[in-house]
């Protein structure tokens, strides 16, 4: 019998080259059954490329990859039958209605007839789109389209659900709706692989995270672990720090990240320092707040723009 705790995804030395360009650079990771695994990284980090290897879109240039204990190279069809993928780019079929999008897609998994239709209607209810079932795709809002694309990934009742930036470009209401659906999937015990640019999303939804940049893994751990390891509990932000403030900080040997407008500190005893700072520079506009995953992310991947 297969071990129930065996990883759903096992990647070793996973590598992808586009010509000479290394998009994914010898990475190792496991995704365990039932967890929501977050893949974070700036644009161009290699997240989508990693995901495309996982759903057997193209083979790795190097390394080993297996899903559900099956090698990706030889069992692509079996693997794909057991996972659902919601890609980063919109790919709903504009030539078909909302319901037809699901029914036709179910057929690719060899699910046909009344059973497929029942499942499609059930999923439309799950994403609150039953009232739009005969509508053309062009008539849907951005949030509705994304929900439908997520529902489409659930048609085969997959063990592993892959969501590549499922909330990018959505308004706050739609984002919350998507989060709610993802939490629901977690409760159902599905294994989820999620990429996102929203750190609050990763912090609330993901059990475990992997931060990557330039094709390499920078960090791995649970959100609280990563916060504790890299930025501690509290953060001090100083808006437009004057030269005196900087000198004062440097004297104390305090490292800070700096942009043109602000300095960000992750000191060990933040509260005491914050009060000392306020006492010494009463006019200084500074604040003390809880550290977030975003602080970790920016600390690890830097603040300069990508692309």
């Amino acid at each position: 019998m297969r071990d129930v705790n065996a990883p759903v995804v096992r990647a070793r030395n996973l590598t992808k080259r586009y010509g000479p360009f290394l998009a994914v650079d010898h990475i190792d990771f496991d995704i365990r059954p039932g967890e929501c695994f977050g893949l974070l990284g700036p644009n161009g980090a290699g997240k989508s490329t990693t995901i495309k290897m996982l759903h057997c879109f193209f083979p790795p240039s190097e390394g080993e990859l297996s899903l559900f204990g099956l090698p990706a190279e030889t069992h692509a069809r079996e693997i794909k039958a057991r996972m659902g993928v919601c890609g980063q780019e919109p790919s709903l079929d504009p030539d078909l209605s909302v319901l037809q999008n699901l029914v036709v897609f179910a057929r690719y998994f060899n699910n046909t007839g009344r059973e497929a239709r029942r499942r499609a209607e059930q999923l439309l209810a799950f994403i609150s789109l039953s009232h739009k079932k005969n509508a053309p795709i062009v008539s849907l809002s951005g949030g509705m389209k994304r929900r439908l694309q997520i529902a489409r990934a659930l048609l085969s009742d997959p063990q592993l659900v892959i969501l590549d930036e499922p909330t990018t470009g959505l308004d706050p209401q739609s984002r919350h709706q998507v989060w709610d659906r993802i939490s629901h999937l977690k409760m159902e015990g599905k294994t989820i692989l999620l990429t996102t640019h929203y750190m609050d999303e990763a912090e609330t939804l993901c059990d475990r995270l992997l931060i990557m940049d330039h094709g390499k893994i920078l960090e791995e751990g649970t959100p609280p672990e990563l916060i504790a390891r890299h930025v501690g509990g509290w953060v001090i932000e100083i808006v437009h720090p004057t030269l005196e403030v900087r000198a004062w900080l440097s004297e104390r040997g305090l490292a800070f990240e700096e942009t043109s407008a602000r300095a960000v500190l992750h000191p060990p005893d933040a509260e005491a320092l914050f009060h000392a700072l306020r006492q010494r520079f009463p006019g200084c506009s500074c604040s003390l707040r809880r550290a977030t995953l975003e602080d970790v992310f920016l600390k690890l991947t830097g603040r300069e723009l990508r692309e």
Binding site: P20, F58, A76, G84, G87, D93, D95, V104, N110
Partner: protein, 274 residues
Amino acid sequence: MNRRAHGLSWRAVRVWQRNLDVWKRGWKINFLPPLLEPIFTILAFGAGLGAMIGSVTYRGQDYGYVQFIIPAIISISMMYSSFFETSYASFVRMYYQKTFDAMMTTPLSAYDVIAGELLWGATKPVFYTSILLCVVSVMDLFVGGPPFLHYPDSLLLLPFCVVPGIAVACTGMVCTALVPHIEDFNIPFFLFVTPMFLFSGTFFPLDQLPDWVGIVAQAFPLTHTVRIARAATLGRLEAGLFLSLLFLAVWTLVFGWLALRLMRRRLLGTNLPG
């Protein structure tokens, strides 16, 4: 590459079914071009040009001009319908709609997707040919003289049309695998489709042109399609036509292989420079 995991399978039919479903959704509009276009062509060329030309000699016998060009018009609509499908229409599905990317996240392989598109491209001429056979048969009822369609031989066009259909669909798919932008389909239209349209023994017999044109024309799938179609509608089927059928089969093998190979490379995005 592992064949069972990434090769061709019966699942290609699912892609064909998707296209059929889309076609059925708009069947009222999809029905019009195959109905109207050839009627216009027959009217313009037949009534207009035919009055000037009178009769044409084909394999030692004289035929009315309309009788002569009707099989060509049917053959051209076979070619256009399948070429259009795997060029412009497949390109839109691949590039703008990301339909193939979505399909490839399911148990379908890239080859299944491509083969399903080719099958669909070969199916389009079935609609066109059946509608045309009906339209011309109705014309036969009202126009006197020798019939435009010799029955039952003309019924052979229905199973036959999938042969040039698949040959031309494979050619269109090779173009889709290669063109950078959708406007670039102008090139295969200009270099391949239009010369075929004119120089495949369509509107005048090939022996009226310089010898070398006739020889080059033997390399066009449309030449062989028209030869078979004309023999059928005029009731002059003969054993020698097997060579034309063989030509279309070999063309399909060569271009089908190229279509699968080149298109898979394009779908996987591994043919990008750098």
